[in-house]
Structure formats: structure tokens, C-alpha cells
Point group: C2
Chain length 321, copies 2
């Protein structure tokens, strides 16, 4: 069976992906610097023979390469899921070095490693943020020119550019997944978690960034992982880019806040801010064209509304404990 290296292996998406890979009987080497991922998320895999976790920063090539090389010499890694990144967009706005190191340099070092160890297949977690604030009715993989307006989106696009060049040079296959907002458990950050915490702290009322009209699309992590595996199994191109998301027109921050209120603090008064951007570089609205991944046979089980409602219930239940 295949041996998978997952960077950012203790993060939200990685944990859900690992669960599916192990169920398929495959092996996973997860590495994570635990800056946002958490060791406790991996507890469910502790009795699994096919699972190994190493705490390590993959932006540090001098540590990363020798360690993976030693593992690789015993158990040949056939593909890499590069999920390590700074997922906290506002943090990258205030300190661009975070996005540089955690999002860009992790990609750079992962590619060097793959070249040196001759690992042929890469799957990369990119983002809808690479597109920026396009005025297209529906954003497809060829929409553009890609013009990211956040440092986060810039470092994701910058990572894609490196991978594109590596696909010309030494990779046999590279799948680029452009994620929308993804929700579910174990949540480490994001609007739902923030609002649940606020509502729990002050059940009488809580504040929302922006005026609440901001509309975005959301995908449940279960649907995301299914799409990633569908692409992994079926796409044979040397380099391909896939939007992954629902095809609906999303859900507003107001609707999310109301979902949280209904679940966590039914008597809370929701206070809204001004403007429809939550922070500099936040993209207010878009729709996703997902015909390309649909043509491989994948469709999401949940639309944006159902994904958010489901995630609110799941996160609220976990956060209660």
C-alpha cells in the first residue's frame, strides 16, 4: 500500500484526510510543528500501525530532509500531501513573516525534499484566495489573472508557481486543490469557532466583524476530503488545478452568527460592525465553478448553509467538553 507524507499533519484537514487514508489500509507519516495543529487531534490514530507522527518544522530544511530521508530509506514514500500553512489570515497581515515561513517556505522545502528523495506525486492545499477580488460571476480554474489581495493568498499563489515549475522539472504529478472556507471538526480557527467562543463568554450578546452582509461559500471537511481523494485517484495530468467547493452562492456572516446564536446562546443580541470586509485582504463575495472536479464524479453532500449548520453543531459540542 502507498505511504503518504502529510505536512501540517496535526491540522484540521490533515486529521480528516488521515482517517480516510488509514481506513483504506494505507500508511501515513504526519509531520507538524504544532504551531496551529494539536497533538490531541491525533490521539484517535495512536493504535494504528500505519500511522507515525513526528513534531518538526518542515520550513527548516536542515531538519526536515535528513529525518524524512531516514524514514524513506525504510518505507518508501510515494506521495506528499502538503497541507502545512499559516491558516490564520489576519495574523499574516500583521506579520508577513508568518505567511513567508509557514506557507511559502514550507512549500519550497517540501519541493526540494521531493526532488532529492525522488518522491513523484504532490497534492497541495491551495486556496480560493489566490484569485483575489475577481468580478467574474463564477470563478473557474482558468479565471484570472489571479490577483491575490491578502498576503495569505499571495503566498498560496507563490507556492502554486513553484509547484508549476517543479512539475516541469521533476514531479510526475501535482494536484492543486483550491479550497474555499472549510468547516467541521477539529476546528482550530475561523469565524464559527470565534463566534461560538464569544457567544459562550457573553451569552447576552456578541459582536461580528463587518456588517454581516459578507457572503462566502463553505464546504464541509468530509466533502473536501472526499473530493481530494477522488482527484488523487483519478487525475493523471502532470499538473492540474481544481476548485473544490459547493456551487451555491454561499451564506452570509449574519446567517452564520444566527446559527451560532440559535445553537449556543438563544438570547444573545448580535452586534454588527461597519463595512463588508472583515479585515484587509478579505474577499467579500464569490461563487465557485466546480465543473472540473464534478466531471470526475464528485459532488458535495452539503451546500454552504448545511455545511455551516452542521459544523456549528459539531464545534459547539466539542467546545462544551
Amino acid at each position: 500500500m502507498a505511504v503518504h507524507l502529510i505536512t501540517g499533519g496535526a491540522g484540521f484537514v490533515a486529521v480528516n484526510l488521515t482517517r480516510q487514508l488509514l481506513q483504506r489500509g494505507e500508511s501515513v507519516l504526519a509531520i507538524d510543528n504544532l504551531s496551529r495543529g494539536r497533538r490531541e487531534f491525533l490521539r484517535e490514530f495512536s493504535n494504528s500501525n500505519g500511522f507515525v507522527f513526528v513534531e518538526m518544522d518542515c520550513a527548516d530544511g536542515s531538519q526536515f530532509l535528513p529525518l524524512i530521508e531516514s524514514f524513506h530509506s525504510r518505507q518508501r514514500i510515494s506521495e506528499v500531501w502538503h497541507l502545512a500553512a499559516n491558516s490564520d489570515i489576519p495574523a499574516g497581515v500583521s506579520n508577513p513573516r508568518i505567511d513567508l515561513k509557514d506557507t511559502f517556505l514550507t512549500t519550497f522545502e517540501t519541493l526540494l525534499l521531493m526532488r532529492d528523495l525522488e518522491i513523484p506525486i504532490l497534492h497541495f492545499a491551495s486556496s480560493s484566495a489566490v484569485y483575489g477580488d475577481l468580478k467574474d460571476l463564477a470563478i473557474s480554474e482558468t479565471s484570472g489573472p489571479a490577483a491575490p489581495i491578502s498576503n495569505y493568498g499571495a503566498m498560496k499563489l507563490a507556492s502554486e508557481a513553484q509547484i508549476r515549475a517543479a512539475a516541469e522539472c521533476f514531479l510526475e504529478r501535482a494536484n492543486i486543490f483550491r479550497f474555499p472556507n472549510v468547516v467541521g471538526t477539529p476546528a482550530t480557527h475561523g469565524v464559527i469557532l470565534d463566534l461560538i467562543r464569544k457567544a459562550r463568554t457573553t451569552p447576552s450578546g456578541f459582536e461580528v466583524l463587518g456588517d454581516g452582509t459578507q457572503r462566502k461559500i463553505y464546504l464541509h471537511v468530509d466533502d473536501l476530503v472526499e473530493a481530494m481523494l477522488c482527484i488523487r485517484d483519478q487525475s493523471k495530468d502532470r499538473y492540474s488545478v481544481f476548485n473544490i467547493g459547493p456551487s451555491d452562492d454561499g451564506i452570509t456572516v449574519r446567517e452564520i452568527a444566527e446559527s451560532v446564536r440559535d445553537e449556543v446562546a438563544p438570547h444573545a443580541k448580535i452586534r454588527y460592525g461597519v463595512g463588508n470586509k472583515g479585515w484587509v485582504g478579505d474577499v467579500p463575495t464569490f461563487r465557485y465553478a466546480v465543473e472540473k472536479v464534478s466531471s470526475l464524479g464528485w459532488t458535495p453532500r452539503l451546500g454552504s448553509k448545511e455545511a455551516v449548520r452542521g459544523a456549528v453543531k459539531q464545534i459547539a459540542a466539542v467546545e462544551l467538553r
Copy 2:
């Protein structure tokens, strides 16, 4: 008069730009780590009051920021020409850390500096290499998606992505110049210099990478600098991208080799290699749509053929000394 900071200030393009800026009566602070640029190129400015050169690596933020800050407190810098980059594409193929440091991290540190010192205007030397091997008849600024096939092109596109995000956040104006192959003096690298040196070393015959059918467009540096200044004076958008080049369909490597032979070693036999790519990541053919810069009133004086012929004569004359 404006005070200009030029990174890569001892390089080929920078020297030609500096000459024009000083002639306009403006001031130039040139910085360069002298990895490819040369101090001797700056000799002509040594009696100029408006010119200061500092040897420094702008990828090293801990050195770069304090030095520029101290200068800036005495003479306010109003715009930056970020020309520092690794221009040796094959070097970046064999060691990607060169492109990372010299092309990408120089951009990262330049942007941090501009944010911290509140310098509002950036001009950036990008490249046609960001497009990759597009099949378009003529490549315009909105052609794409940009899919660089060299590490060099990837780091230029990655730099553009960062600048795009910075334009959203703190820059007042950013002009992205996508250069084609640029020729003229003082040459530091490139096909003409390589062939002249080969022909001088063995006047009986010399070798050419690839089969000689590879066709590319070339711009003379005098035309390039005129275009950059035209855009600088006229473009007022917050973020804009310009192809700069001739609109012809270029010149083949065979024609370049023959120009060199005629100028330097009339009896040399030219030996060709195999294939139409000189190295991995080399883009064999393209044409450039330059309507956008033309609409500002610029047209090149020389087409690809004349630019190359002129440069062969200039470089051969300099290299003789």
C-alpha cells in the same frame, strides 16, 4: 526632485536606468550585493552628486532596513525600483535556493521596508517567464493562467503575487514590468555574451545550446528604460502590469549565432545541439502583445533583430578591451 532607491543597482538594467534618472536631475541610492552586478559599471556616476552606492544584500532584512532607514531620515525616498534578482536562469535550476534568496526574498524584504518606511511607489522588474509556455498567438498582460515552467519564472510570479497583496494593503502605486530578453551593455550574462566569449576563445568554431531554431523576442536596454520611465511618468493605477517588448516575432538562436560569427569570428563553424529548449524551463517561442504600453505613447526604436545586432556590436567592443 525625487529620490529613487534601486535594488540590484549595479546590474545591467539599473546602470542604464540610473543614467537616465541622473540626467533628469533626480537622485539615486543604488544598493547591490555585487553577486552579479559590478562596481566598475558605476564608475561613470562617481562624480555625480545625486548618486550614492552601498554594497549590501537586500535579502538580509536585518542589514537592509536600518541602513535604508538612516538614509531615508535624511533624504526621503519616494520610490523604489526593485531590480535585484537572480538573472541566471540555469543557475536557479541547479540550485533553487539562489532564486529563492535573490529573486523572491529580495522582494519580500523590499516590501517590508516600504511598509515600515512608508515609501509609496514601487516599480518591479518582472519577466515574460511568468507566463510559461502558453499557446496564445500573442501574450497579453491578461493571458493565462500564468504557469511558469522555470524556477526563475516561478519566483518572479511569486514576487508579483506579494506585490499585488501589498498594493491592497499599503502601497500607493505598483508598476509591474514584464521584461522580455533584454540586450545591450554592460552585459553580465546571456546568450550573446556567451557566444561572443566562445567565438573569441575558439575562432575556428563554437557550439550553440539547442538546434538553433528556438525563436525569442529581444529588446534593447535603451528602449526598455524609455518604456519604464514612460510608465513611471504616466501610469496612475494602484497596481498595473505591463508587457514591455517589440511586437515582432523575434529572432532565432541561429540568427544570433550568425550575427556573433560575422562580428567576431567570420571563419567560425557553428555547431548546433539537439532540441529546441536550451535548458529545462526554457520557453521556446512567444510573441508579446504590447498595446497597453503603446497606448501610453511608447514604441521601441529597435525590433528584435536590430536590438540583437546592435548589442552584438556593443558587447563585442566592450569585451575586446
